[in-house]
């Protein structure tokens, strides 16, 4: 696979160069530089740069097919690496496999099929701590405190729970290792509208407790309102990076990506 990046950039690319992305190297927990990645021979991402500071809440928004989820999967070692680096806590984790990356303190909640449907709620959480010798009681208590419904439904099969409850379980499973960075892929997808706000509140709470969050969201406006910083991704490239509120008020971002 050639890493040929000479594709014609779209028209609006010209006025937003990579220089608009400030260098935050000194404080970065996660540092993605010039990342090229994709699936098999198909390249999706080109020269993606992204930072997440310790305890920061960052979202990636952008149109369908922009490669938002691919960024997240690339950080977690689930794509074919084609160039660039991923640094986490000062350590180069580029191209490592997910089962190694999970040891570094990154938790990942995929968008679909993110619980073991035939296992009970408790067993799902135990699987979250599989890499430890024993299930840490304090982590389990913390998850139950955060999501009381999971404690109530401990012995229920995960597959029989509602979408919102499954999403909480998936997050709870990822939190069992108390990661310093949590990757959330479309946490509001498939939720009933009245549950979406509740889900965002819970993510706020996780972030308030010190866990850095990198989130991909279809629900761009709400995600940008909540986060510290946002990236706009299109055609597998960085387009804009700014504070969430600034992106929300940016005329061009509104017009091109947020539907006015």
């Amino acid at each position: 696979m050639s890493t040929d990046t000479e594709r014609d950039p779209p028209a609006y690319d010209a006025d937003v160069s990579k220089e608009t992305i400030p260098d935050r190297e000194d404080q970065a927990l996660l540092e993605v530089r010039d990342l090229d990645a994709g699936y098999g021979d198909l390249q999706i991402l080109t020269d993606v740069d992204l930072d997440v500071a310790d305890g920061e809440y960052v979202t990636i928004v952008g149109p369908n097919g922009a490669g938002k989820s691919t960024v997240m999967k690339s950080v977690f070692g689930l794509t074919s690496h084609m160039g660039g680096t991923v640094i986490f806590e000062g350590e180069d984790i580029t191209g490592r496999r997910p089962e190694e990356i999970i040891h570094e303190g990154i938790g990942y909640v995929p968008q679909n099929d993110n619980v073991f449907a035939s296992l009970t709620v408790r067993e799902n959480l135990e699987m979250g701590a599989y890499i430890l010798d024993s299930v840490p009681q304090d982590a389990l208590d913390a998850v139950f405190e955060r999501f009381p419904i999971l404690e109530e439904r401990q012995s229920q099969k995960a597959g029989t729970m509602s979408g919102g409850q499954q999403q909480m379980l998936a997050m709870g499973r990822a939190l069992m290792l108390d990661p310093s960075l949590l990757l959330l892929d479309e946490p509001s997808a498939g939720l009933a509208p009245d549950l979406v706000d509740d889900m965002f509140d819970r993510i706020d709470a996780i972030n308030d407790d010190g866990t850095a969050v990198l989130m991909v969201e279809q629900n761009a406006k709400e995600a940008l309102r909540r986060c510290d910083r946002g990236y706009v991704l299109a055609n597998g490239r960085n387009r804009y990076m700014d504070d969430g509120d600034a992106l929300l008020t940016d005329e061009q971002v509104r017009r091109d990506f947020l539907g006015g």
Binding site: F76, L78, P98, E99, I102, H103, Y108, P110, D113, N114, V115, F116, A117, S118, L119, E123, E126, M127, G128, Y130, I131, R173
Partner: protein, 368 residues
């Protein structure tokens, strides 16, 4: 709740599930025939009891042997046609050990190791049985399990692992090749004759209305071993970290991987546990039926597939229940049809039940 309402509901059921109604009808006719036969003395209670007992024993063998097949199916996503020959391999390795332990000093070691190939030694002459040579039998069970684990791991390492990510059909066809290679290698080594392996085991008679149902020591041994192993597998899957990881992997392999479950190590554990159960099942099968030939596992495999599919492929509980259903059908069906068709009846029951409940009795590819 008027009669009209019940009638409407019944009618609704008959329209939406005509298959179920037909199956129930056929079942009712057969049951009526059986009851009538018992009432008129055409069938004896003890005769039926003996068939049911025989069916239960056959079912335990099929169910025990089916667990390994179901496990590898649910974790590795392919139907392993070499499974039947793993059964035979377990039987030969175990019985070679039993012959050696029981007959050491009384017969040529070579002949003992080849399980009396060509009629050189007879199990009956050596007096092999669970009561007469218990040490030889226990040693045989252990070796059957261990040897089959080694074989399963060896075949996986050399043949299946390099094509782990290939699709199910590729793996399936490869496993057919492995099956042939193993079977004819065993025929080459041990010969193609079917030999008797045990002496007549002691039996007790349970009196049932008009006669006796005979239960022999090997039936009891089968019940004990199969029951213990089934319980053990259940506890392993439900209570241990490894068992839960196996179920998690059967459920969603991608998620298992991002959760940090070492999938390749779980695969190895599946071959160890599945292989061990399969080898012991092969040994117990031969102990129970008293004869051993190089085709035994292969012929049993068809019944095992029927049982596993009937139970819902991938579910180990389905394999056990499906095994009992298939075993009982194969034995009890001779009440109504000539015994030559007994196997066919087992498959007929499988087909009919799948038409009525296509997902199997325990639906889905989950080990739980």
């Amino acid at each position: 709740m008027g009669i009209a309402e019940t009638y409407t509901r019944g009618r609704q059921f008959a329209i939406t599930r005509p298959g179920s109604v037909l199956v129930a009808l056929v079942g009712a006719v057969l049951l009526f025939d059986l009851v009538a036969g018992l009432a008129t003395g055409r069938h004896s209670f003890s005769g039926i009891g003996s068939l049911v007992w025989d069916g239960l024993m056959r079912g335990l063998v099929v169910g025990l042997a089916g667990i390994g097949l179901s496990m590898t199916y649910s974790i590795l996503n392919f139907a392993n046609f070499a499974h039947g020959d793993y059964i035979t391999a377990g039987a030969f390795s175990g019985w070679a050990t039993t012959y050696l332990v029981a007959g050491f000093g009384r017969a040529d070691v070579g002949a003992l190791l080849l399980v009396g190939a060509g009629g050189s030694v007879f199990g009956g002459t050596l007096g092999i049985g669970v009561t007469t040579t218990p040490v030889a039998v226990v040693a045989g069970i252990l070796v059957a399990g261990i040897a089959t684990v080694a074989l399963a791991l060896l075949v996986d390492r050399t043949t299946f692992r390099p094509i782990r990510d290939a699709d199910g059909i590729t793996l399936l066809i490869t496993s057919v090749g492995v099956a042939f290679a193993l079977r004819y290698l065993m025929q080459f080594v041990f010969g193609s004759d079917v030999r008797g392996t045990t002496s007549q085991p002691p039996a007790m008679a349970l009196y049932l209305v008009d006669g006796a149902v005979r239960i022999n020591a090997h039936d009891v041994a089968l019940v004990v071993v199969a029951g213990a192993l089934m319980l053990g597998v259940h506890l392993l899957l439900q209570l241990t970290k490894l068992g839960k990881a196996m179920r998690a992997m059967a459920d969603n392999e991608d998620l298992a991987q991002i959760t940090g479950i070492p999938t390749e190590r779980v695969v190895r554990a599946v071959w160890v546990i599945g292989g061990g159960l399969t080898g012991v099942a092969g040994y117990m099968f031969i102990l129970w039926k008293g004869t051993l030939g190089f085709n035994d596992g292969w012929l049993l495999l068809l019944l095992i597939f029927a049982a596993v599919i009937l139970g819902g492929i991938g579910s180990i509980y389905g394999a056990i229940v499906g095994g009992l259903a298939i075993g009982l059908t194969a034995s009890v069906s001779i009440v109504w049809i000539p015994s030559a068709f007994a196997r066919a009846a087992a498959f007929l029951v499988m087909i009919v039940l799948l038409l009525v409940k296509p997902e199997g009795l325990f639906s889905g590819r989950s080990t739980a």
